[in-house]
Symmetry: C2
Subunit: 355 residues, 2 copies
């Protein structure tokens, strides 16, 4: 297969971890005789520094003409703590998702047996957890109209959803559930919010097309508790943008390391793959960033193009590295000298010399 | 002291647990020679059944003319799962908070040593956790304008905040921090939301009046992770209404039982005290509801009127009941026959016969 992959490695540790994902994909291309072409472009704080824009036109154009986007991380503290900054790195990511029509963010959350002891949760509560969170990504309050009164004393954000926005991701979630444990939990706040009541109505209607899937409902505040009390109760979680942001980050602690968690953002025409962790500026350039999430996002990319055998080999290589503790210091109890690139080298070597 | 206390016990297990809180307050009144007058009124689903309104005028009137409100719980599944219901029990609580000007919800989250083993989190991570969450209660998206298009295809909710709404709760949070570990963490989403940026600006300005208190900031998605990864890092958490709803319910799992957690909702003129748990209709009438949260909310009521010795005696009685496992089945490993009212009897007896 020939794939043109846009590489947007971004800020902080983004470039370091993305480099290892590319190393992995190149090894896969060599081993399975594919042609993967990589083209890089800037996004985030580094793009603001270079062009004044968090998502330069050239970057967006590259993404639109690529088969997939491999994304690193964005964000820089010089923007986070300045409430008056006019341009923010995160706007680049929000705009990219919108422009590419990436309306669904998919986050697998899995408790790896070999890392159970690293979890802040008790092992017996989490062993076997396997959740897939479907978060709506281009609607809701993050994209609604924002206002600040002239005197600076009143601010507002509008949360808006249409039937169509809800329907398309709901179909994806139910289709995924059909290949899993056949359960969808809609997380909302239908006892208070009009948008949540629309979600319930629409999701109930879509559910009629999937009689083999059980649908249930959970208020977001209760869901925030249940994820910690009993995460094994969940199969597919479906939710709106902001609730999904909070709930999926909360769920990310279950497995013991967010350095392992990948995500996909998909639309009807485009798809983007990225680690869920941020740009961790304090770790930049030290060789300590864990590249596994970025490498697993490359595996999700392979799966997206139905290269399942290839994806499976990447995941095997990752599991092997965890078993042998060929891991960065965040996961390594014995050796704190294994760098980001050494982990990538091990994965590359495993793929090129499969046992 | 003479206090007129409005009792709004509400739905589900509300009446059962509130009865034990009243028993406790009566014992305190007798022991310390106070006069507490209790008057009851209906709220929630039961009030809808009786009057068509979740907060009848007579109930609101009683509350306005009382020194404090002792609240039970509201909610009934026949409304929760009907997105087309015009009147909802929760509207009663929302309206009451608004009408009484209860703009700050205060939730202590404490890990009791004797219950550490009940927590879903690892004991070493939570031992010593002592957080006080200040949630803004009358603004934000829960109260903003709601719209549903005529064809039912587009819904919206408006999140709005004014400088004044932010200032008044911020002062309460900083004053509380001065009596604690002198740290306030503002939880927001200032990288995306205009309202969050207003919160940051206003809170930074108010913080200048409290030079002995350290202020830091956390995005709500990160906060949802940090509460599980390292809850001991927090002292006072300050946040807007919806984030506070999610974060404080999430935090409630830390201590191992939400049956223990009380809350206060305060304004400039009125104050209300309630357990944080819901109406648990499935437990109603079985004598298994844990009354401790309601009893501890009575202790917060006593503290509010500076009856600190009295409040401390209630808390001692509660700790004693936990030590001796005079507890309802949810907390009892040895005996599942101790009922709601037996726990209240023990607390009453402890107060009337202090050791
Ligand atoms: Mg997030
Ligand atoms: Mg809640």
């Amino acid at each position: 297969m020939k794939l043109n992959i846009a590489v947007l490695s971004g800020d902080g540790i983004g470039p370091e971890v993305t480099k290892e994902a590319i190393k992995t994909l190149k090894a896969i291309a060599q081993e399975f005789d594919h042609t993967f072409n990589f083209k890089s472009a800037s996004v985030g704080a580094i793009a603001i520094d270079e062009t004044g824009e968090p998502l330069p036109d050239a970057t967006l154009d590259l993404c639109k003409h690529s088969d997939a986007v491999l994304f690193g991380a964005i964000g820089d503290p010089k923007y986070d703590n300045n409430p008056n900054a006019k341009v923010r790195p995160e706007q680049g990511l929000l705009k990219l998702r919108k422009e590419l029509g990436l309306y669904a963010n998919i986050r697998p959350v899995k408790a790896y047996d070999m890392l159970l002891s690293q979890s802040p949760l008790k092992e017996e509560n989490i062993k076997g957890t396997d959740i897939s969170i479907y978060r709506e990504l281009t609607g809701g309050i993050y994209f609604g109209e924002k206002q600040l009164s002239e005197d600076g004393n009143i601010a507002s954000d509008l949360c808006e959803y249409s039937r169509e926005e809800i329907e398309r991701i709901t179909h994806l979630a139910f289709k995924a559930a059909q290949t899993r444990q056949k359960k969808v939990t809609l997380v909302d706040k239908a006892n208070v919010l009009e948008t949540s009541r629309l979600w319930r109505n629409v999701v109930k209607q879509v559910a009629e097309d999937y009689p083999d899937v059980v649908l249930d409902f959970l208020f977001v505040d209760n869901a925030a508790m249940q994820l910690i009390l009993n995460p094994k109760q969940f199969d597919v979680i479906l939710t709106e943008n902001m609730f999904g942001d909070i709930i999926s980050d909360e769920a990310s602690v279950i497995g013991g390391s967010i350095g392992l968690l990948a995500s996909a953002s998909v639309g009807d025409k485009h798809a983007m793959f990225e680690p869920i962790h941020g740009s961790y500026p304090q770790a930049t350039g030290k060789g300590i960033a864990n590249p596994i999430a970025s490498i697993l996002s490359a595996a999700m990319l392979l799966d997206h193009f139905e290269l399942h055998e290839e994806a499976e080999m990447v995941r095997e290589a990752v599991e092997k590295s965890l078993q042998l503790e060929i891991t960065t210091p965040d996961l390594n109890s014995k050796n704190n000298t294994i760098t980001t690139s050494k982990v990538g080298d091990f994965i590359e070597d495993f793929i090129n010399n499969p046992k």
